[in-house]
């Protein structure tokens, strides 16, 4: 048993236990409808959480993603309303913008040696502000292409729907896993999280990797914005406030160390699903205050931080024991 995969194991066990409890009370919770909903409703969160996983593994943080999602929705809605551009062209423009936005933040963090917290906080205000400048209204998207995207789903047995956006999220997770564990970029990200100095000594191109990480997070935030706009078929500058914090919570519950250097993309998917499951349970119950979602997530986060700290402590002690044995 590897100590590093213990948080992931804990996450999986908690998820299965929680689902079993939900199922025992509401057998309908195991229907394909609920599973389809979990994927569809959390698609936008899952996609940004993948980007956040890379950022956190590298020892950074990206607070701008929630605002970037809102900006994306407003950008798409306003462009589709005011110009004759096809949505696909707008999507492409948007992804270029958000990727460059992320890259610019990464460059600022690296070259000006600023803490990621401050730089991405500025990015958060900037993106939200840009959304407000474009419009303060909730702008509906009526392009018929959107209707086709929304009607594109696979009807599972039991009338559950695997929607396009749910599918996109699963695809992003799959790509993220390959990127993290099977490529040089992924290795560089882990190395960076272990410490910038050591990474540099190992020959990791620190500048390029940092910029790539935040560009990836910006790209995925843009993609998440597209997914969110398909989800609500509207752009609204006040939407997705605080999603960056949900994403961070999902990453930590998914077993990634907040200090960087260790974590799994797959764990983040389970983290997102646990959060979705809690919400679904509370709605199924219908009598609990929906703020219980936050309370339970708060407890889980706290438990995971303690678990991580405990593991680090045990690992240190073992290392110490080894040394004295020698």
């Amino acid at each position: 048993m590897n100590a590093r995969s213990l948080p992931l194991l804990a996450t999986v066990i908690i998820f299965l236990l929680a689902y079993a409890v939900c199922y025992s009370q509401y057998p309908a919770m195991l229907s394909t409808r609920v599973i389809g909903n979990l994927l569809t409703d959390n698609a936008f969160l899952g996609i940004v959480a993948v980007g956040m996983t890379f950022v956190i593994i590298s020892g950074g943080i990206d607070l701008s993603v929630g605002s970037v999602i809102a900006f994306s929705g407003v950008f798409i809605a306003v462009l589709l309303r005011d110009t004759g551009l096809h949505p696909v062209a707008v999507f492409a423009m948007l992804l270029v913008i958000t990727t460059l936005f992320g890259a610019a933040m990464g460059a600022t963090i690296h070259y000006l040696e600023m803490p990621p917290f401050i730089v991405t906080l500025a990015g958060m205000f900037l993106a939200r502000g840009m959304a407000y400048v474009l419009t303060i209204d909730s702008v509906p998207i009526t392009h018929e292409f959107y209707g086709r995207l929304q009607d594109f789903y696979y009807l599972m047995p039991g009338r559950g729907r695997l929607t396009l956006i749910g599918g996109i999220m699963l695809l992003v997770f799959l790509t993220g896993m390959i990127l993290a564990h099977r490529t040089r970029f992924g290795m560089n990200v882990y190395a960076l999280g272990g410490g910038v100095q050591t990474a540099r000594l190992m020959g990791v191109p620190v500048a390029r990797t940092t910029i790539q990480i935040y560009a990836l997070s910006g790209f995925l935030a843009g993609l998440s914005g597209i997914v969110f706009s398909i989800y609500t078929s509207a752009g609204y500058s006040l939407s997705t406030v605080g999603v960056e914090l949900d994403a961070i919570a999902a990453v930590v519950i998914g077993g990634t160390l907040l200090t960087g250097g260790s974590g799994f993309v797959a764990g983040t998917l389970i983290g997102v699903m646990i959060m979705g499951l809690i919400q679904t349970y509370i709605i199924f119950d219908g009598t609990l205050s929906s703020w219980w979602t936050k309370i339970v997530i708060g407890f889980l986060l706290f438990a995971f931080i303690v678990l991580q700290k405990g593991l680090v402590w045990i690992a240190d002690r073992n290392a110490g024991a080894l040394k004295s044995a020698r």
């Binding site: 409703d41 609204y236 119950d285 703020w291 407890f299």
Partner: protein, 320 residues
């Protein structure tokens, strides 16, 4: 942690299931925006009360002002197979997909107090108040109260550009349009708040000869009226006598003022939107009676003659 909480929940639920199994309990999901104002809190309280009276098992979901939470709640209601859904939508846009899903699952949806911009065959009906009508009721009261006497009116408007401010102004103006004795001499925004209502009223009083030229105040909501009453008292005049006061909403505090003789009339924006919604749903489920697409709630006028003290007592625990 989750599991322990869940087990407590299980116990509560099991006992509830026993209670519910006796009656022909219907399950209705209610997706509320949040609890941003006293009025909305009262709407939630009344919806729960109305559901309880009818033996309906109400599944309540507070969206914390977020549309994504409301969409999630609606999808979960559908997955759970509820009999009907009530929703007070936080924004007008973006409901097509989820309303279509509800329609395909044959679950009727009723909108409460706010509208959506989706096609109206996607929901059963909408229950709400007519803001123009509210302004009209307030205007008509003043017309009959002044009964032909010369009267200069000052108006405290709601937040500039908000639909209640625009429509309540419009309705009031329509009601007094052909009465030459009634004239709005000053009109300014008080932002729907007490503090701003007081401040603006102070400037009205100064501008109109210490208030001696003013015969009536029309405030777009009760809170501004309560603030204005304070200003009138400080100026040494008697609110309710020297200056007639009519406002809209019927929150508990205005009834205290009415009981003290300091306010004259208020038009109720009823927080009981769920009652008419449940009635419409019951009729629809019984024999398929399709209700009209918009059910207008009553804009009831309360004056000092309506025992304001008793109304206050009845309203004060609703969560306003």
């Amino acid at each position: 942690m989750l599991s322990r909480k869940a087990w407590i929940g299980a116990g509560v639920l099991a006992s509830m299931a026993f209670m519910a199994s006796g009656a022909v309990a219907q399950t209705i999901g209610f997706s509320q925006i949040g609890s941003e104002s006293g009025w909305r809190a009262a709407e939630t309280t009344l919806t729960r009360q109305q559901a309880q009276e009818r033996g309906i098992d109400l599944k309540f979901a507070d969206a914390q002002q977020k549309q994504e939470n409301q969409i999630k709640a609606l999808r979960s209601f559908i997955a759970q197979g509820v009999d009907a859904i009530l929703i007070a939508p936080v924004v007008a846009t973006g409901w097509d997909a989820v309303l279509k899903e509800a329609k395909e699952a044959e679950i009727p949806v009723v909108l409460l107090d706010r509208m959506v911009d989706s096609s109206d065959d996607l929901y059963l009906t909408a229950v709400g108040s007519d803001l123009v009508h509210e302004g009209k009721v307030a205007g008509e009261w003043l017309v009959s109260e002044t009964n032909g006497k010369e009267c200069n009116i000052v108006e405290l408007q709601g937040t500039t550009g908000s639909s209640p401010a625009i429509d309540r102004k419009k309705g009031f103006e329509e009601a007094i349009a052909d009465k030459s004795n009634l004239k709005i001499v000053r009109s300014q925004t008080g932002d729907f708040t007490r503090a701003k209502g007081k401040e603006v009223m102070e400037s009205f009083l100064k501008a109109e000869n210490g208030g001696r030229n003013i015969c009536a105040l029309y405030a777009h909501n009760d809170d501004m009226a309560v603030g204005a009453i304070q200003a009138i008292k400080e100026a040494g005049l008697k609110p309710g006598e020297d200056i007639l006061i009519v406002s809209i909403d019927a929150v508990p505090d205005i009834f205290l003022a009415m009981a003290a003789g300091e306010a004259n009339a208020t038009v109720e924006l009823t927080p009981n939107m769920a009652g008419p919604a449940f009635d419409a749903l019951a009729a629809f489920m019984k024999d398929g009676t399709t209700p009209p697409k918009f059910i207008q709630t009553e804009s009831k006028l309360y004056t000092q003659a309506d025992d304001p003290k008793a109304v206050y007592e009845a309203k004060k625990d609703l969560g306003y």
